[in-house]
Symmetry: C2
Subunit: 455 residues, 2 copies
């Protein structure tokens, strides 16, 4: 242990190394529940690529596991420490190195906060679309590592689609450059994409070239109340089948609505079983909203409220933004799931989740990126109650089983981490898992990069 | 050899196996020039996944190389046979298995022709955007294998962005399923993306889940004549910097224009040094074209012609569609390059290519997917003239060197094949190449999948 700290210290400035056990322990986990975390031997906060290389050379020489971290807003335990590891926090490498409005790219260090990049891009009339809920705190490196999504994915896609090239420090400290800064390029296997969602298991991302998009007009939002989750999901299917391209298409179920009502007195009628929110950032959003309003009414909506101004739209979105805090206020602990199904099966997913909640006598509120079929069932429970914790975990697992049964995936945007390792193996099957392992061994033959995560 | 044919025959219907040497030889190459091709031992045209598995099991048992082929419209020799190989043509597996307008996906076999899928999707109000020039003949499997692009990429992106999941027969005949049929999903490393552009070196794609988009309105096109390539490129930069999203943004250089004039009497003034074509499929394309017209005039355009109708637009696009045949009519042989640079460097790329042509005393016409910075310099030469062939190859290489110098890539959308192997190594460098090789060995430890291609 002393040797580890000594070696680390030899290539790092004092402020980049935290060896005090109490402070180091505060870096032990991300925001996932149900997940174990160990005690790191050291926390390093490098500011340069060379410092990261020094850390990785040291880790390789001493065979010490390295756990890379961003803002630790992750929801699957992918950034949780293991005992005796080096926690490698990239948060201090937070410079935006370049924004080019002609090439529509940004070059950034991994610790740049998502919202900071968005704001910087806006000065050039551009935007960085991926918008995880934690966008005010989460980092680009963490977004890439977990392949994160967000509210606007239904129109603008996920993080993966915005990563053009990467600079990576490999397990042994060597430098790997992947991808490009051009709009297109097919030179060899797509190593860039391989790193997106790799949860720190293939290398340490120290720089990224990101695609930017022209900033769209401010969106207008519509809210529609439905007498059942099924009818709201039918409206979602109709909107997509009719060829609309909303920039946001969300559903909140009854449990979520009641929780939001309780927290914020939104005044939603208690008889409402599901709320659909739909936004357009098109040239004529009112016309698009009118078309969607008609589809909602045809699907059985009891009330349809289209906003006339961006300010009204913001108010309607408040309910969605309050969903997670409102559900968290219902119980001492919550666990958020992340099952994505074909959108045609969304109704079955919501009804099935409600049945699981009832069977286990638990409160499970669902908000969903409905346009993508990506549901976030939030299991509310008392972690001090062993039986309730057991039932919470069982329902969490049953939700994933249901998602797979409906042709979906166990994770639409939160990743695998330690939380869903067993389920990843189930979803992939033995052949795919064998090749996942093979790729990992190619990049990390000593097994020091975030071991115990993914598989 | 007899054993190979006998074993193949044991698991294939008669019509799926071609052993006649003359017929087999007709499958020896794709449409790339400069590329060697060997003589296949057999050509198989399976119709089922099980037949493909039988072929791969046989190839593994006998250690015989397998060269997968689609429509052989490729431009890098990736589908060229090697001596004694099995050519595995997927063209007979050409069924569209499913189109789902709610989930906006298609499930297809690899031999489906790109245009057939597009037409089938249109019946649901949908479109499959990737549109390589060969779209009337090329296959989806070939598109995925080479990660092909097209004219609409500037707005709609490349093939890679539309491949959600794959079924793959591995080198040893096992079946691998990758990806998903949901809009989002991050379960493990993105093996799907790894196969896109892998040129048959990792496995045989036997089924693909593809994303579809709502069919956009018919585009309107504008043509603008410029007194120099540099001024046309400046207009491209201005269009992109101002936040426009054209569905097509092409440049044809002077050499291409003259060739088109000669072939089709387009009546373009011979003083025109570059023609820019810009299309919008937005709700109000006339307004967008008017904005672009102003930017073109500010950049020095001598003539700007916006179309008022889709029919007029089609006429303007004719010149672009005729570019390649018109250049091919200039010389006994042509070789098409595929360098992609940051669009801010497009002017330097075009001027540099003209200088290379002049230095070598050759005709090189350039058409470019200008919005993406993806240039296609077409080197015209007489392949019966040894010195001219040498100069043609030298200029071809110098164009790639120039592309790399400008921060670009040696291939924007055509792939590597055998044509650009050495240049791939140059672009990637030794570290990236080591990991490319490592991945290949993971999937193909015996080295029987399209050996000699890529690297």
């Amino acid at each position: 242990m002393d040797e580890l700290l000594e070696r680390l210290r030899s290539g790092l400035p004092d402020e980049a190394l935290i060896s005090d056990p109490d402070v180091a322990r505060s870096y032990d986990r991300d925001m996932a529940g149900f997940c174990e975390a160990g005690t790191p031997a050291a926390v390093v906060l490098p500011r340069t690529v060379d410092q990261v290389r020094h850390v990785m050379r040291t880790a390789t020489a001493l065979r010490v596991p390295v756990v890379p971290q961003g803002a630790r807003t992750g929801l699957s335990g992918a950034a949780n420490a293991s005992d005796g590891c080096i926690v490698l926090s990239l948060t201090a490498m937070n410079r935006i190195l370049e924004i080019d409005p002609v090439d529509r790219i940004a070059v950034v260090e991994p610790g740049v906060v998502n919202a900071d990049l968005s704001r910087a891009a806006q000065q050039y009339g551009l935007t960085y679309p991926p918008d995880p809920s934690s966008w005010e705190t989460c980092t680009i490196g963490g977004n890439i590592g977990t392949a994160s999504g967000g509210l606007c994915c239904v129109k603008y896609g996920v993080t993966a689609e915005y990563v053009l090239g990467l600079t990576v420090v490999l397990a042994d400290g060597r430098l790997l450059r992947t991808g490009r800064r051009t709009a297109k390029g097919v030179a060899g296997y797509d190593l860039t994409r391989l790193f997106v969602g790799s949860e720190g298991s293939l290398g340490i991302i120290v720089e990224a070239v990101l695609a930017l998009k022209p900033k769209p007009p401010a969106p207008l939002v519509l809210a529609a109340e439905f007498p059942s989750a099924a009818s709201a999901c039918a409206a979602v299917c109709a909107v997509m089948e009719q060829g609309h391209t909303p920039s946001l298409l969300e559903i909140m179920d009854r449990t979520t609505l009641r929780a939001v009502n309780r927290l914020g007195s939104m005044g939603l009628p208690e008889s409402t079983q599901a709320l659909l929110l739909c936004a357009f950032d098109t040239p004529d959003p009112s016309a698009d909203l009118a078309a969607v309003a008609a589809l909602c009414e045809a699907a059985g909506a009891t009330e349809v409220v289209p906003a006339d101004t961006p300010a009204e739209s913001e108010l309607l979105l408040q309910a969605r933004r309050m969903s997670l805090p409102a559900l968290e206020a219902l119980a001492p602990a919550t666990m958020i799931d992340d099952v994505c199904v074909p959108r045609s099966r969304l109704g079955d997913m919501l009804d099935g989740t409600a049945a699981i909640a009832e069977r286990h006598g638990l409160t499970i509120g669902v908000c969903a990126h409905a346009g993508d079929g990506n549901t976030h069932p939030v299991v509310c429970f008392d972690h001090r109650d062993a039986d309730e914790s057991r039932r919470a975990r069982a329902s969490f697992d049953e939700i994933m089983a249901l998602g797979l049964e409906l042709g979906g995936t166990i994770t639409g945007e939160h990743g695998v981490g330690v939380l869903k390792k067993e389920w990843l193996a189930t979803e992939l099957g033995p052949v795919a898992l064998e090749f996942q392992r093979g790729i990992r061994e190619t990049f990390d033959p000593l097994g020091i990069l975030n071991p115990g995560k993914l598989f």
